[in-house]
Point group: C2
Chain length 189, copies 2
DNA sequence: TTGTTTGACGGAGGGTTCTCCGGATAAGTT
DNA sequence: AACTTATCCGGAGAACCCTCCGTCAAACAA
């Protein structure tokens, strides 16, 4: 049967893929800049195989943090359930900042994921969707300007990507930035 | 005499340095991603020589746009002479955006120059100084919140670095961003 | 004039990224 | 069992980045 065959063939591919991801996760925990070469070697796989599974370095890193990003985007709904739109929005932005800073690689992922690039095209990106969700709720509540788009918001908080997670003052700077942004997004008068 | 000797020795170095810069400028106009190898070759110089003059790629690019950056930073004073602090601030930010977008390489330079990195340490960077200048004038006029720092401002407009100069809508997006930022920086009530 | 010093030069070399294609292996076919 | 096909694997190879060090020539001193 065709489907079984596909599964079998995939089985092999999926195994090496999983192996690659596991090795990559370990490697990235040790240091941020790992050579793809070394990952392939540590996974006991040719470099060509790695590239077939993950055509670019970004693809690999993105996959590593996929669940983290998902958890973040899902949080928008949960926060809206438990808090007022205004609070939910602020809490979500703070979580966004914390996520971006905590795991070093995530920052890069979030930046490219929110930029208008390859990832953004997929339904304009899950992150943009989460923002949109929060945005609409706040606009209906009248706590955010009605003319805003998710794009506006993501651009406004882009300063987060400039922060250096290894510096101790990133938290203070991030806090100030979010304050300014939230102030600017409020309805005029 | 010692100074003459230094000048003579420098003369040689300066010539190759100038040659490198000239070639680099041409090369970068053709395409953004040029190999340092090719620049060295086109300048008729060994790759080692290039690296001695410009230890990192950033150093080279930064040098290419040094005068552009200077012109931008100087504009802060001129604008303050000719306009109200508020207008000067807005006009300067718009010029900042335009500069960053027009010359492709400049965007990268401005980002690293404003980030807290190597360049920023030198007197916290000329760009930061320009912002500081405008900021103080506005705070004295009461048109910007008194607790703001240049760092805050630069973080707030960092969204500009996310824009894609080759897309047609960057101008609209930049405009919206600046609107939001200026709104957020105004004194509360 | 003949060392000697000192800065500048060139490129080999090790490590990386990414591409490309021939080889292997399993599923399906006759 | 022999053959075909689809899929995956591996690594050679081209291009690049950056470092390191031996060489060279100008400037100066003896």
């Amino acid at each position: 049967m065709s489907t079984k065959r596909v599964e079998q063939l995939h089985a092999q591919g999926l195994r090496t893929r999983a192996s690659l991801l596991e090795v990559a996760r370990e490697a990235f925990e040790e240091s941020r800049d790992v050579s793809l070469n070394s990952i392939a070697k540590r996974a006991g796989v040719g470099i060509g195989t790695l590239y077939r599974h993950f055509p670019t370095r970004e693809d690999l890193v993105f996959e590593l943090y996929r669940d983290q990003v998902q958890r973040l985007t899902r949080a928008s709904g949960e926060l809206l359930d438990e808090h007022s739109p205004q609070e939910a929005f602020r809490l979500w932005l703070e979580r966004f900042a914390r996520y971006a800073m905590t795991k070093a690689g995530l920052l890069e992922v979030l930046r490219t994921a929110t930029a208008h690039g390859r990832f953004a095209q997929v339904g304009r990106g899950p992150v943009a969707d989460a923002v949109e969700h929060l945005l609409v709720a706040n606009q209906e509540a009248g706590t955010l300007r009605a003319d805003l788009t998710a794009d506006d918001v993501l651009l406004a908080v882009a300063g987060l990507y400039q922060l250096d997670p290894s510096a101790e003052d990133w938290e203070r700077r991030a806090h100030r930035l979010l304050d300014l942004v939230l102030c600017g997004l409020r309805p005029r008068d």
